[in-house]
């Protein structure tokens, strides 16, 4: 296949498919063992200096926020983030110093809430390095190539744009049609955290609602920590096997964390906590405010349970459930 142009971006998380197969053979669990552990253990064991990290979900939706707070608590550093629609997750990881480099699909924004003061400041002042750009389909299909065990996948996006120029993709002549085609390289994140509605002790997981990129991401990641609202009996999975989104052999750790997506939305269970996100957007306008936030909500509490108490406890969670079920109206400080 004739290669026409190469993007300038660095190739992150790519492995030769045979090297990756051997890695899987030698490192991934293929017997069903109980993988439950606490969040502190999972983060300390699986997040290493220099890792490429990709968070499941979609920025404010079904994100393993509890593990992000734990990474900050453990003062993880020098991590590269796959900015695959990374919004609140990205904002906290960049401004806390955990992440120092990022590949951007969608980052530094909070969708309707506006742009992120903290992570934009980090980038505009050169404290976080942007390594390159990619589109959402581009990054999704990088994970898909990895999940298929292939070195790359062809796609018809990013062509003709500077998003391509700053990416690690290349343009080749399609040997079948003779047309130009984009090739996206496989991406195997070193570690991913995916928050799910329920899973068994082995890691067989169900997700309700949109799966976003997580089917592929869970299979692409070399190490996968599943955080779950609830660990369920093995039979719950076996009774409805068509609902299994992530199989046990992709999973390295299972951590039960009720409300683990807070302040992000967990479909059918609780809506995003706009009061808390609003508070963050306000205080994170300055470095001092950002630091105070982390002192209060991360270092000032023992664990995620302590954080949940601080943001309003069960009463707040019940209210977020009402909003999720459309029984109460959302109000948002950033919209006033």
């Amino acid at each position: 296949m004739e290669v026409l142009v190469k993007g300038e971006g660095p190739l992150l998380g790519w492995h030769d498919p045979d090297e990756q197969r051997k890695w899987v053979r030698d490192n991934k669990p293929r017997h069903m063992t109980d993988k439950r552990m606490d969040l502190g253990q999972a983060v300390s064991r699986f997040v290493r200096d220099g890792d490429l990290l990709a968070m499941g979900g979609f920025g404010h939706v079904r994100v393993s926020m509890a593990s992000i707070y734990e990474m900050i608590r453990q003062k993880k550093r020098n991590v590269t983030l796959s900015g695959k629609t990374a919004t609140h997750d990205c904002d906290l990881l960049l401004s806390s110093g955990v992440v120092s480099r990022i590949e951007v699909a969608y980052s530094f924004g909070h969708e309707l809430r506006g742009l992120s003061p903290a992570s934009r400041r980090m980038v505009e002042q050169g404290r976080v390095q942007v390594l390159g750009e990619v589109s959402n389909a581009g990054i999704q299909w990088r994970f898909k190539a990895a999940a298929m065990g292939l070195p790359f996948l062809p796609a018809r996006v990013m062509l003709g744009s500077e998003t391509f120029t700053k990416s690690s993709s290349l343009v080749a002549k399609d040997p079948f049609s003779g047309k130009n085609i984009l090739l996206v390289p496989a991406c195997y994140p070193d570690v991913s955290f995916v928050h799910v509605h329920r899973c068994d002790r082995f890691g067989n997981s169900q997700i309700d609602g949109v799966s976003i990129m997580d089917w592929d991401l869970a299979r692409a990641a070399r190490r996968l920590v599943v955080t779950t609202e609830k660990v369920v009996d093995d039979d719950v999975i076996r009774n409805e096997p068509s609902k299994t989104m992530i199989p046990f052999y992709s999973v390295d750790a299972v951590v039960e964390v009720p409300y683990g997506s807070h302040p992000a939305n967990m479909p059918y269970l609780y809506y995003s906590d706009e009061d808390h996100i609003g508070e963050w957007l306000k205080v994170s306008r300055t470095d001092a405010g950002t630091e105070q936030y982390f002192q209060k909500y991360v270092h000032g509490v023992k664990d995620f349970k302590g954080y949940l108490e601080l943001v309003g406890g069960q009463k707040k969670m019940d209210n977020l459930k009402e909003i999720e079920l459309l029984k109460a109206q959302t109000t948002a400080p950033w919209a006033e």
Binding site: N136, P267, L326
Partner: protein, 245 residues
Amino acid sequence: MASVTSKIIEDGATVLTGSGLPMIAMALALRTRTPNVTIIFEAGGIAPRIPVLPISVSDSRTFHRAIMATSLDCVMSTAQQGYVDYGMLGAAQIDMYGNINTTIIGSYQKPKARLPGSGGGNDVGSLCWKTIIVMQQDKKRFSRKLDFLTTPGYLDGPGARERAGLPEGTGPYRVVTQLGVMGFDDSTKRMKLLAVHPGVSIEDVRANTEFDLIIASEVSVTSLPTPEEVRLLHEEIDPSHFVLR
């Protein structure tokens, strides 16, 4: 803008929509002229009955009573197959060929402002048959030279998309702003003023466009939203004033 945008799409069409005003326009379209439009959100929501404005293109409102809650892979593959008639996007900057920037203001190495990047924007603009862009219009935003080409419009003119390898016969279709509605000239693929909102003159539009805008031989005037549309927008669709502040 939401009312005008809601009228561009015909009933029964499939529409992949981004965040903000495009989402409001589609929620309005669903409740008024085009109840059979299939709205698609990039994170996997297909044909939801949008109960109230979602804050994110993936939150639970984007698949409320939908026909399918699937994946970004599925949605983008569907668009790549040719099933998606319209894509709707916002933008920070646009040029005369409808190329858009949502990545950076200033230089890439030393940005004056770092914007979110492509997200699904490049994919929507690459894969949907017709792209509709909803944005504010002024001389900085309607720019002769983009700071960054995030999402392809007609690139540098007729045939350029196809030469780059993008799907044939796709591209920007309408640009809706606070001043009026623009389309693209068939032979040059350059932006062309089609309609102005009531009280806006052609000169107003020119004065807020840095590049040379083609003016249609007959520029029409859009109609104001009806009282019922205004009520739906403020009471049902965006009661918390997320966008309509």
